[in-house]
Homo-oligomer: 169 residues x 2
DNA sequence: GGTGAAATAGTTTTTAT
DNA sequence: ATAAAAACTATTTCACC
């Protein structure tokens, strides 16, 4: 599911509708999708395939309510490195990428360098992982942990209509 | 896709395998899934439906590479309220839930109350939204904005095998 | 709770516009 | 580039284990 050309991708209104529908339900059949966007099945499918090949659609996921299956803790760590050379960033990033129970990591601007999201079996597992970052990893200057108490608004995709008001034909 | 009973859900090894596969590819066919977990198509489908009804599977999403479609800014705001009564939390949460371009919001422990994730068309749109929270909303004591520069590790689901080592039959 | 066959429904390729 | 039709494949139900 990768065939990037590196450039921007032009989408028309129908492509946008397809993305909106698939964002809300990634498992709908091509038939349902075609009906929803006012196309017959085969052009609808070729549009989806085209967006997959262009790297616009990068994958399909299943949302799991982890709390229904097992106890776990959800923690966000705000990490600041001591040194800020390219090799310091690279070392930290490779460590985080390889780390189990890290579900997501972003590099941010400002006094914090990284936000690292962990989903671990328990606090002691988190304790070990954050220690690993602090002790064994590259020079981590500060690591503040924020335990997630509640998901107020779960991720339900982008407001594509609001984001794409200009470039859509 | 909701038929919760409020209680915990018992899963066996096959259910777990199903979740792992669907987490990696939410659009695989039931046939492929059945083959992957060593079941025939019909029991595989009934397990999936059962987990959907039990609220273990809460939905199917499509990942979109927004940067291939349009310019945008991705910001995480760390918000601390001035007052911490139940009504202050509720007011803030309702505001955030209704807010366009907020893709995700979590309540956290510690000196910060909420992490609010925005994906906006540009910085001026973000400026307006954060002002809305600061000025019109409930008493926001502090709002620090962290612009996302890079996604180091994109969300690829949970390490289910590591999280579920105890309760699986 | 699983299997395998049968009917229904969806996907995908080809062909024509 | 779209649509319709044909061939193929998957989904879903059901009788049986």
């Amino acid at each position: 599911m990768k065939d990037n050309d590196g450039g921007a991708v032009a989408l028309d209104r129908i492509d946008l509708k397809i993305l909106e529908r698939l964002q809300a339900n990634g498992r709908m059949t091509n038939q349902e999708l075609a009906d929803a966007v006012g196309l017959s099945a085969s052009p609808c499918l070729s549009r989806v395939r085209r967006m997959e090949r262009a790297g616009v659609i990068t994958g399909y996921n299943t949302q799991i309510a982890l709390s229904r299956i097992c106890r776990h803790v959800d923690v966000v760590a705000a990490v600041t490195l001591k040194a800020h050379g390219p090799e310091d960033f690279e070392l930290f990033e490779n460590m985080v990428i390889a780390m189990r129970f890290v579900t997501e990591c972003t590099k941010v601007s400002g006094p914090i360098d990284y936000l690292v999201h962990f989903v671990c079996p328990d606090i002691s597992a988190y304790q070990m992982l954050s220690d690993e970052l602090l002790l064994m990893g590259p020079k981590v200057g500060n690591l503040s942990s924020y335990i997630v108490l509640k998901t107020v608004k779960p991720n339900q995709g982008f407001a594509l209509d609001g984001l794409l008001e200009q470039p859509v034909r």
